[in-house]
């Protein structure tokens, strides 16, 4: 069906054979790992910086202003200037803090978001590791970052930080359930946890269209719950600027703060990418039933473009949330999860299981 989509596996495969011809198999694996690591590092930095820029521009236009426009063309170099500044900023050691944990926390947060990127399929055949439990892995790894946040809040010996960290802990632990259950809905549909299989199962239509109303409901729940899980507005209680100054990272300066800052945006990317993969077909082009001509045209658009297009669409929606809504209170946040999202998604799962059993889905 999607035969004329460029398969990156041929490219990676040819690199592999080329390397194999030059060195022993152990070195090949080592070289490939280094290469993949470098590529991810580069991509991480570029996407992160671009997301910060995008956020600033998007909110600016929503608020009738121009946004950064004086550094480089349209202010495109703005975040690079920020990065250079943050790199050279003084790192202040906090008296009476726990130095080991204090310094460790930002790395935990950023490593967690880094790990999750490995399992995402960016294009056809372009995926570092294709786990058979891909969905599970991404969720598990990305929810680990709460450990970093808790450590950051606790070790910096500041009361505001501690409150922020505690809020974040309660928030992520409870919203993890809804994210899991809403993803489970699609796992039930496609019958696999492997991300590549989930994408292949959407070749004739994305799950959000194929899965009737239940899939749509779980998509909405996924959006809301994942916005909460990555601590973004209106669920940004952990940093709640007007309440807790800067929340769990109040005492961090310089590049350590930049790690938190970057990790927040990368988490947004990961969540949006996961949502795009599971609900919107990942790199799979938009196909309509038997319209061969239309489907052919859609196939000409490279799969990378499809993936990033869908991801950035979801990111825009998450940003739209943030710049519209007021922040929730901590008890309302938990009420929303335990009284609304969780029961609905549980019921939804039962409904989907029933649909799948009866074979009503396409």
């Amino acid at each position: 069906m999607s035969s004329n989509i460029f398969d990156f596996a041929t490219l990676t495969g040819s690199i592999h054979t080329w390397l194999s011809g030059m060195m022993s198999s152990g070195w090949v694996i080592f070289t490939e790992m280094v290469l993949v690591g470098l590529v991810f590092l580069l991509m991480y930095a570029l996407v992160g910086l671009f997301l910060v820029y995008l956020e600033r521009k998007v909110c600016a236009i929503m608020q009738n202003r121009v946004g950064p426009n004086r550094v480089g063309k349209w202010g495109l170099l703005q975040t690079i200037a920020d990065l250079i500044k943050l790199l050279m900023k003084e790192l202040i050691p906090i008296r009476k803090s726990d130095p080991l944990l204090f310094n460790l926390a930002p790395f935990i947060v950023i490593i967690c978001s880094f790990l999750a990127m490995a399992a995402l399929p960016y294009a056809k055949g372009l995926q570092a590791i294709d786990f058979n439990i891909g969905v599970f892995y991404v969720m598990a790894v990305s929810s680990l970052s709460v450990v970093g946040i808790l450590l950051a809040g606790w070790s910096s010996n500041s009361k505001y930080s501690l409150i922020g960290a505690m809020r974040s802990g309660a928030q992520i632990v409870s919203y993890e359930l809804s994210v899991g259950l809403s993803l489970l809905a699609i796992v039930v549909f496609s019958g696999s946890m492997q991300l590549s299989t989930i994408i292949e199962s959407q070749a004739n239509g994305w799950w959000i269209f194929k899965g009737h109303i239940p899939a749509f409901i779980s998509f909405i729940i996924f959006l809301v719950a994942s916005t909460a899980e990555i601590n973004r507005g209106p669920f940004d209680l952990a940093e709640a600027e007007s309440e807790l100054t800067a929340g769990f990272h109040t005492e961090y300066s310089g590049i350590k703060f930049a790690f938190f800052f970057l990790a927040e945006y990368m988490n947004m990317f990961i969540v949006a990418a996961l949502g795009a993969t599971v609900f919107l077909g990942g790199w799979m082009p938009f196909h309509i039933g038997n319209w061969e001509g239309f489907n052919q045209i859609m196939d000409y658009i490279p799969s990378v473009v499809w993936f990033f297009g869908k991801t950035f669409f979801l990111i825009l929606i998450i940003m739209w949330f943030k710049w519209t809504f007021p922040r929730l209170r901590i008890d309302q946040l938990l009420t929303l999860e335990w009284k609304y999202l969780l029961p609905i998604s549980l019921f939804n799962i039962v409904l989907i299981a029933f649909i799948v059993l009866m074979g009503w889905h396409f």
């Binding site: 909110c59 202003r65 943030k322 809504f325």
Partner: protein
């Protein structure tokens, strides 16, 4: 201090989780310091500490002439600068028994209402920002700039104009004044419903505001909470109605009252006051009588010995000026009863048992201007 007391204090600190909000904290809009005692996230009690911006304005007044005092009152409650000016001007005018031209009264009233609108817009921005709705900040300030343009055209400055003088105005308003006000009202009548859609109707906002920070009418009267904050509890305290000054006796307007006494009631009162201010402006703007912009005053003003009192309604409540004069060119004692001082100290009463986030909402709904508290 004996050792036991020290021990008590230390033990007490360990049990109570005390955080300091301020002096530098984004939610206090100034240098207010709130010592908040928490249990988990719930507020047990709070102690406001004032004085971080005490500038001794009352003491300074004793060394300045009445014309010079005007520019100090600007800086008390900088968001209702005109009302502050007018209070002092009216004290002087009443004491000297100067008859102020009608034109001056009309213009002053228009300026009051414009200033009230600007102030409420800024409050709306800041309140939205406190609750995390960052976009409201930009929409409110965007519309406020239109008022500031009107101010700048007539008085040459945006925020603090020192435009009133005892006996009248510094100079006449700009010829464009009326047209620009009409333009602004036309524009703002379209924009104000957007505020409602963005924030008022929002379910998150309503959950954050309804039933939070309940202040009964008795509490409001007991603490002397005036202005929109007091009227949100059903305390009818609008000086414009009770003791009309300026041109307020010539216009039809309603005193906005709400009885719920929570954050949302105070919010509603302010939103309704914006509509009401526009109504007042529309009634006045076309009817400014011709005439002088100032009454004849001697260059050196000396109040006859005695005590004088005047109150006005600022954007935040009742401002009262009390002057004791010994017949010199500067007052013997000048006392300002500023609305924010009373409005601040009710916070402990109404915020007990709420969450930190509610505390921010409550302090936002009281619309505090810190330099007005400390003077």
């Amino acid at each position: 201090m004996s050792e036991e007391i020290i021990k008590d204090v230390i033990v007490g600190e360990q049990e109570d989780y005390i955080i300091n909000m301020g002096p530098q904290h984004p939610s206090t809009h100034g240098v207010l310091r709130l010592e908040v005692c928490l249990k988990g996230e719930t507020v047990k009690y709070l102690i406001p500490h004032v004085g971080y911006i005490h500038r001794g304005i009352e003491k300074m007044c004793e060394a300045n002439t009445y014309q010079q005092i005007i520019h100090l009152t600007d800086r008390m409650d900088y968001l209702s600068a005109h009302m502050n000016n007018e209070a002092v001007c009216m004290v002087v005018e009443n004491a000297m028994q100067v008859k102020v031209p009608e034109r001056v009264k009309y213009i002053r009233t228009i300026l009051n209402e414009l200033n009230r609108l600007a102030s409420h817009q800024l409050w709306w921005c800041a309140f939205g920002m406190d609750l995390g709705a960052l976009t409201s900040f930009f929409y409110g300030l965007r519309d406020r700039e239109m008022i500031l343009d009107i101010f700048e055209e007539s008085f040459g400055s945006r925020l603090l104009h020192s435009f009133n003088t005892p006996g009248g105005l510094m100079h006449d308003v700009h010829p464009n004044f009326q047209n620009r006000i009409k333009e602004f009202i036309k524009y703002f009548r379209k924009k104000l419903p957007e505020y409602d859609q963005l924030l008022t109707g929002n379910v998150i906002f309503q959950n954050r505001a309804i039933g939070i920070g309940l202040m009964s009418k008795e509490t409001a009267i007991g603490y002397g909470v005036t202005g929109p904050s007091g009227r949100g509890s059903g305390f009818s305290c609008d000086v414009r109605k009770i003791a009309p000054y300026g041109a307020y006796d010539k216009v039809q307007f309603n005193e906005i009252l709400a009885t719920e006494g929570d954050v949302f009631a105070r919010y509603k009162v302010r939103m309704a006051e914006m509509w009401e201010s526009m109504n007042i402006l529309e009634q006045l703007v076309d009817n400014i009588p011709e005439g002088d912009f100032t009454a004849k005053m001697k260059p050196i003003i000396k109040l006859p010995a005695g005590e004088y009192f005047q109150r006005v309604e600022t954007a935040r409540g009742e401002l009262a000026v009390y002057v004791v004069s010994d017949g010199n060119k500067s007052p013997y004692r000048m006392k300002f009863r500023t609305p924010n001082f009373s409005n601040l100290f009710v916070m402990n009463e109404i915020s007990a048992g709420c969450k930190i986030a509610d505390l921010i909402a409550i302090s936002g709904s009281l619309d505090l201007v810190i330099p007005d508290i400390d003077r």
